[in-house]
């Protein structure tokens, strides 16, 4: 059994981890949950002995009665990969792009067991079969770029478990994956723990993932574990205030907004088509194309909040770009406020001013060299800068709860949540009728996300805004939208009132999405939140 005792990490005079105690028994799954910056990844790297330069670990990490922190680097190299394996968040970059997957798995066997290449490749074949990459579809000679994200994560798992380690550490292994892929990877991990009797330390920000898979859970906040125990007990009792706050936020429901009784169409999309040419196969092959958006029609009424849900590659980003008039359509049309949008540079300024957007990345959404004042005023380009623009900027900031002294600061001085508020203020400044929210809360921690969702609901009430809310996350869509559309392979396969669609899905794809989405069992909710249980989906 691997056990961390009083494990601390510091860099200079700064504590990163304080007194972590964590027992990782074989055949059990331990969930380590916390928000970004809580130190959960550092704990994993400290156990692996792979801390970044300049960080120092103290305390104990015991394996067979040996303290790993005392071992020299050479001895640690013999333990990593053999006794402890690890997989990381980003499957797209975790594998060497120039090496076949067979060789990458075989390498573990070659360095630890001194096998020759042929024997190691035989063994690698066996391990890749085990993680579901079977012959003949997945020969050893494939390169990572020929695989999808989920498949690459399977390769990473195969090489981490190639030598049946005592402990597998998985650091946000499914965060970068679609929900259906996530479910399959979690299944695979669960099966591996059961079959091979190893311990699994699963690091995640997602309480629902932990609820579905972990035997025990530890909650981390600011470098320390504030609460740990069997998963169901921790979830039911929620003894620590921080745990309670996390739970409340993850099932949070902003106050409902009643849609207006007299629907007036704001945005109408009819038969939208957008194709991308695919690379030619061979020299003479026909040039095929991919229909990213394939005959999509829908409408959004004034003051309505509509969700657009789908997995990566379903065409929702392409559709969004067409609606924002950043990319042209090849077929169909888009009408906004009764006027045609001819995508491209031709959209009239007055029309464009009635539609604004908030994007996903709180770090990339702002020019790092501009001050907040100038950033917020950028949309005035559409309307002409009014004489009292400074007052309007200050007012917009006030509306999103950002202190007024923010005006003269640069964007790097703000947290992720504050940046998304500023992005909302920028969208509001010219008083649009429709705001397109493209994964606008996906990068935020759960508590911050709840606050931003509250803000969006409140602004919708006070300004009569309509939202097009694009997301891959069903629970967020449930919290903020009146109507939802489910998109798959360029088509909208199902749409309707949010609760109706999510509670009684008709289309098999919607059903599979809902089945794959991890959730906290309703009966685990603390009594204090019982009134909210109605907001979580009934198990399908």
């Amino acid at each position: 059994m691997i056990q961390a005792r009083d494990l601390s990490v510091e860099i200079g005079a700064h504590d990163i981890l304080r007194g972590i105690d964590l027992a990782l028994p074989p055949g059990r799954i331990t969930g380590l949950v916390g928000e970004s910056g809580s130190g959960k990844s550092m704990a994993a790297l400290a156990i692996m002995g792979l801390l970044p330069q300049g960080m120092r670990a103290s305390g104990r990490v015991d394996l067979d009665g040996q303290n790993l922190l005392d071992l020299p680097e050479r001895a640690l190299c013999r333990i990593r990969g053999r006794r402890i394996g690890m997989i990381f968040q980003e499957p797209m970059t975790a594998l060497n792009p120039l090496m076949t997957i067979g060789d990458q798995v075989a390498e573990v066997l070659r360095i630890h067991q001194g096998l020759d290449r042929r024997a190691a490749l035989d063994h690698a074949r066996d391990r890749l079969d085990r993680v579901g990459l079977t012959t003949p579809r997945f020969p050893l000679t494939l390169y990572p770029h020929q695989l999808s994200g989920g498949q690459r994560q399977r390769v990473a798992i195969a090489l981490a478990i190639a030598l049946r380690p005592d402990l597998l550490i998985a650091d946000e292994p499914t965060t970068a994956l679609d929900v259906t892929t996530q479910a399959r990877i979690l299944d695979l991990l669960r099966g591996l723990v059961r079959d091979e009797g190893m311990a699994l330390l699963l690091i995640t920000h997602d309480l629902a993932v932990v609820a579905g898979i972990a035997d025990q859970v530890a909650v981390m906040q600011r470098g320390a574990i504030v609460e740990q125990g069997p998963t169901e007990q921790v979830f039911r009792q929620q003894r620590h205030a921080y745990t309670r706050a996390l739970f409340a936020a993850s099932t949070h429901q902003p106050r409902l907004v009643l849609p207006s009784t007299e629907p007036r169409p704001l945005l109408q999309v009819t038969g939208a088509v957008r194709e991308y040419p695919l690379p030619r196969r061979g020299l003479t092959g026909r040039r095929e194309s991919l229909r990213a958006v394939d005959g999509v029609s829908f409408r959004i009424d004034a003051g309505e909040s509509v969700g657009l849900v789908g997995e990566s590659g379903c065409g929702k980003s392409t559709l969004t770009r067409a609606i924002l008039s950043l990319d042209p359509l090849q077929g169909g049309g888009i009408r906004f406020e009764g006027q045609d949008i001819r995508a491209g540079r031709t959209m009239p300024r007055a029309l464009r001013a009635r539609m604004q957007a908030v994007f996903q990345d709180p770090f990339g959404s702002f020019d790092p060299r501009w001050r907040v004042e100038r950033l917020l005023a950028e949309p005035f380009h559409l309307t002409g800068r009014p004489r009292d623009w400074r007052e309007q900027v200050a007012e917009a900031l006030f509306e999103v709860d950002i202190p007024g002294d923010a005006l003269h600061r640069h964007i790097h001085e703000f947290s992720g949540g504050q940046r998304q508020r500023i992005a909302i203020a920028r969208a509001l400044i010219i008083k649009p009728r429709l705001i397109v929210l493209d994964e606008a809360v996906s990068a935020l921690d759960v508590r911050v996300r709840a606050q931003v969702l509250d803000l969006l609901a409140q602004l919708r009430r006070s300004h009569g805004l309509a939202y097009l809310f694009i997301s891959h996350d069903l629970s967020v869509v449930r919290q903020i939208t009146d109507r939802v559309m489910i998109m798959q392979k360029g088509r909208i396969v199902e749409s309707g009132p949010t609760h109706a669609v999510l509670d009684r899905p008709q289309h098999p794809y919607t059903q599979s999405l809902l089945a794959a989405a991890p959730r906290i069992p309703a009966e685990w909710q603390a009594p204090a939140q019982a009134d909210k249980t109605a907001a979580t989906p009934a198990p399908s």
């Binding site: 050479r74 190299c77 990969g81 990381f88 060497n96 120039l98 390498e107 360095i111 030619r280």
Partner: protein, 312 residues
Amino acid sequence: MLRYVIRRLISLGLSLLLASALIFSVVELVPGDPASFMLGTGAQPETLAALRQQMGLDLPLPLRYLHWLGGVATGDLGHSFTYKTPVAGMILDRMQVSLPLALLALVLAAAVALPIGMFAAARRGRAGDTAVMATVQIGIALPNFWFAMLLVLLFAVNLRWLPAGGFPGWDHPAAALKSLLLPAAALALPQAAILARVLRSALVDTLGQDYIRTARAKGLSAGQALRRHALRNALIPVLTILGMQFSFLLAGAIIIENVFYLPGLGRLIFQAITQRDLIVVQGAVLVLVAAVILVTFLVDLSYALADPRLRA
């Protein structure tokens, strides 16, 4: 892969065509009539007429270019009017010095740069790295022809180990190689410094990649991760620089030949400039530029060999 090669081949053909047009048009820059420019004011009318005829100056420009291009395609670069011999033969002769010199320098540069870059990257941020990279900085700042003079001063004048200049011809391979040693070293060292720097920063970049972390989690030591995973990935940007360096090495060789009195392409070009023999200059420059374009093409092909993502 085939698609990629064909695309590159097309772009190779286009580049060669455009480059040849540019070089050809230089004659048109000459003030007045090219033939009288080349022969000077005291030329005999018959010689002038003969040269005009040879250059086809009575033809319109596009036709003249096509005519010239047709010659180039069949290996005919025209006749030098000062030496009265075919330019192609002269260039071929001189290439026997210039090409081995550039190649020797390229090999030398790579051989010096590789261990230095790896050493510095493995010790990045530490004293060994700082010391090596400071030395490399000085190497980058060295003008190669000045460095060549210093080498002559030390190894030829003072120590008398190697010849100070001249070339005995390939009939005496050992002596020939010996006389190329100092010029090649002078050419190679500043380029090696640049290459070592590029290699180091490419390695430091790749060492920060996720797959290096994966490799370390597999149980590879820092050194193994560097050699097995980082090096091949870092070689792709290094390859680009190596290809560009070949053109600098060829250009550098032209200058270095002057320091060592080597009968290479460079000497030929400078003699031709002083004699206003534009036909020779044109031919020699065309060969130089074509060599650079060809090397760029080869580098592009080697990308595809190094990177499976390009082979798709």
